[in-house]
């Protein structure tokens, strides 16, 4: 188990992705799954960086756990910003023609569709979003 805590800023994305990649390597994750997981991590982290603290700066933590019994990884994101459940929103319509499409909500939709499990809870004053997926 390893944890990274950073200021929740978009410019720290590469640090978060480097940490994720390093841990996935240690867990013996294949390149194919690693890419998919990194995309999910980016979408979740960038959402926190953009919205959790408004104009203030706060912390975001990323906790990575290997679950060898089920060949999976569990990643938990925590922030102490505005309570926000990204899973409570309706999915965007992905059947619209290009002209009518917008990009809002696509990131979290990608996370939901590519990860095995995505859970949200607000606990001890923190947003906790957990993804679990096969590696």
């Amino acid at each position: 188990m390893a944890e990274l805590v950073v200021d929740a800023l978009v410019e720290n994305l590469n640090q978060v992705l480097a940490f994720t990649e390093e841990q996935l390597d240690l867990f013996g994750c294949s390149m194919k799954f690693a890419m998919k997981i990194q995309i999910a991590v980016e979408e979740i982290y960038v959402n926190i960086a953009h919205y959790a603290y408004g104009n203030e700066t706060g912390k975001a933590s990323v906790l990575m756990e290997h679950l060898p019994d089920i060949s999976s990884v569990r990643i938990t994101f925590k922030d102490s910003g505005t309570p926000y459940n990204p899973l409570a929103h309706e999915d965007p319509d992905i059947t619209l023609e290009a002209e009518k499409r917008s990009i809002g909500g696509l990131g979290i939709l990608m996370v939901k569709k590519t990860m095995d499990k995505v859970e949200y809870e607000f606990k001890d004053g923190q947003n906790c979003l957990t993804i679990t997926t096969t590696i």
């Binding site: 978009v10 890419m35 998919k36 995309i39 992905i94 990608m110 590519t114």
Partner: protein, 98 residues
């Protein structure tokens, strides 16, 4: 991310190497703003593109909308990761993928 452009008359090919993510997408957006004038056929060659996130999708959608009325846009040589992103977001139905 590395962006290579090859302009041949009204045909522009843009080849990307690396990751089209939140941090790199603005570079592509800027390149497109500067390059699309007079272009009728836009080709994205993604042979060396490792990965794309929703920030990259936003730039592609914007280019697609811009080209829709004036010409044609094609995305080619996508890898498995990029293909899956296009599938789950419905972009595979919108973009012309070769």
């Amino acid at each position: 991310m590395d962006i290579k452009k090859a302009l041949d008359g009204e045909n522009l090919t843009i080849s990307l190497t690396g990751r089209l993510d939140t941090l790199t997408s603005p570079e592509l957006e800027k390149e497109l703003q500067e390059s699309l004038s007079g272009v009728k056929n836009l080709v994205f060659d993604f042979a060396d593109l490792e990965y794309i996130s929703s920030a990259g999708l936003r730039v592609l959608l914007s280019a697609h909308k811009q080209m829709f009325n004036n010409g044609n846009m094609v995305v080619k040589n996508i890898n498995e990761t990029v293909s899956e992103v296009f599938e789950v977001t419905g972009f595979s139905d919108v973009l012309n993928i070769e």
